[in-house]
Subunit: 323 residues, 2 copies
């Protein structure tokens, strides 16, 4: 068993191993998960969470890395959570993903973590917010959450950030691909990366059109900017940071920051509650209860709804005993 | 409100409108759903449920229609539930799907129902067994459940029948496609349809190889037969019926029929219970409860697990009041 208060203290003192250990505890659904989350609760809520998403090949990792550089120059501590549907790095060591972010690997002001979105226990849906909370409590000023915009859960993770950045790159049908993945609606800031390539103007125009950015909006509404970057050379990155700052200021001005975080928390709490109830039903599986209910259904003595009621009552009982 | 006992009596007397109305009630999750299921429970369990699945284009509808003809010749009452991921016929009238099964549309001994597997309320996962139960209680001797073997839920519906028929047709990579869809493991009877086409031998050989049918089995184990048909001309259909009869006899001999039905009922009860719990959590969504819990999480006063516990306790409370 880990000494959670000690780990938390070490994490807050800037010890990357402690941060890594805490993330492993929350990611792996360890028996100490609840203890960790309870310890972190009063410490979190300070970090600004930025989601970055886009189709494969638009340069998300490069853009993330460039943003880290920009935030580090401004003296901020940065956490990076790179969510990959096929990441082999799940549960790996913090700073383990040296290839992706090699230039930041030795910077003590940067925490980098890769996570597989398709893991055990329903994948990242519940683990990502918890890992973000660890990075937040550890004192990160900014947490960048990078997800591939290909699956619903990955897109949702990015959409639930304080500010969501959608990246595109010039290329035939990229906008259509993004639209298909459902990521076009969720951006607070849009980035056309690889803007030195042919077609960048067309992509920006297409995006502008698809988003209806030319249309009138109510005064006070947020109008997502389209920023052009060549992230590999750091071009346009300061403009992205400026757009993020502007969006954050807008959020705070309109009481939207707390509203967004509350929605995010509500979703997280709901997911955990549903998972808990589901697991309790799963526990009854090995039990005689479900088996004998099913036998009575087959015998025609009980209808399926009455049987389900009985199962729900059983879960309720477990809940009362367990809670 | 419908008079459920009257509808059930009419359905048992062979009135197709009553059967259609009952299926609509269970499919649409009407307030009378529970009443219907309770009324049907003691009447169901007599029909033999045959699942038919396979990739698009293998001739499932034709094969189903040919099986209906064969069973009708034997004097049996037949129900057909055609599950289609994109069926426009969901909620449609019984006998409404005249194109698919036109030759049986006017036969009072045949009930045909199309159902969309991707509907509201999580699709067919829970509605299919209930529709099967209506057809069963209405006096069908055989219920044929035809599903496209493309999605997990469709495949599961077929796999949960008393006997599952997997159809293939000659053609490049068909076996591989079927394997990808996960339908190769679930067959109790395999049918190579369109067996007059080139490549039928190769498909049967490939299937035989993939299933390891040449390998030794324990005595008493079921060895799935491979039957060749040209369903459009009715060729081989009697052999399919014979294979189904043989499998049914094997199931009964090995106490597997009740075991399968019990597993199916257990799954159904579990699905309904999870859905019910989920809905109760959903009900709390509009409530102040989840909102205020989330606010306390954002304020750092409560961790997400403690909040989820509180939500689960709330559901439990609802359950006690509601039950």
């Amino acid at each position: 068993m880990q000494d959670v208060p000690q780990l938390v203290a070490q994490a807050r003192a800037g010890r990357p191993r402690a941060v890594a250990r805490l993330i492993s505890l929350v990611e792996g659904a360890s028996p100490q998960l609840r203890e960790v989350m309870a310890a972190l609760a009063p410490l979190a809520g300070r970090a600004y969470v930025v989601g970055l998403t886009g189709s494969p090949g638009v340069g998300k990792s490069t853009a993330t890395s460039a943003l880290v550089t920009a935030y580090r120059k401004a003296g901020k501590r940065v956490g990076v959570l790179a969510v990959d549907p096929s990441s082999p790095f799940s549960g790996g060591a913090l700073l383990g993903d040296r290839v992706r972010m090699s230039e930041h690997a030795s910077d003590p002001g940067v925490y980098i973590r890769s996570m597989a979105s398709r893991g055990h226990l329903g994948g990242l849906a519940w683990a990502a917010p918890q890992a973000i909370r660890v990075l937040d409590a550890a004192g990160c000023d900014v947490v960048l959450v990078e997800t591939v915009g290909v699956g619903q859960s990955e897109v949702e993770i990015a959409a639930q950030a304080d500010t969501c950045v959608v990246l595109l790159a010039p290329g035939m049908g990229d906008g259509i691909q993004a639209a298909k993945a459902g990521i076009l609606e969720i951006g607070d800031v849009y980035v056309v990366n690889k803007a030195d390539r042919e077609g960048a103007d067309a992509t920006a125009r297409e995006l502008n059109h698809m988003l209806g950015l030319g249309e009138a909006r109510a005064p006070g509404d947020w109008r997502p900017p389209i920023v052009r970057t060549v992230a590999a050379r750091g071009e346009g990155v300061d403009e992205v940071v400026a757009a993020l700052d502007k969006h954050r200021a807008w959020l705070e001005e309109h009481d939207e920051l707390t509203a967004r975080r509350t929605r995010r928390a509500a979703r997280e709490v709901e997911t955990i509650a549903v998972t808990a109830l589901r697991e309790r039903i799963g526990d009854l599986h090995g039990d005689r209860r479900l088996g004998s209910l099913a036998e009575r259904v087959v015998a025609g003595e009980l209808d399926v709804y009455a049987a389900a009621d009985s199962l729900v009552a059983g879960v309720t009982g477990v809940s009362r005993r367990g809670g």
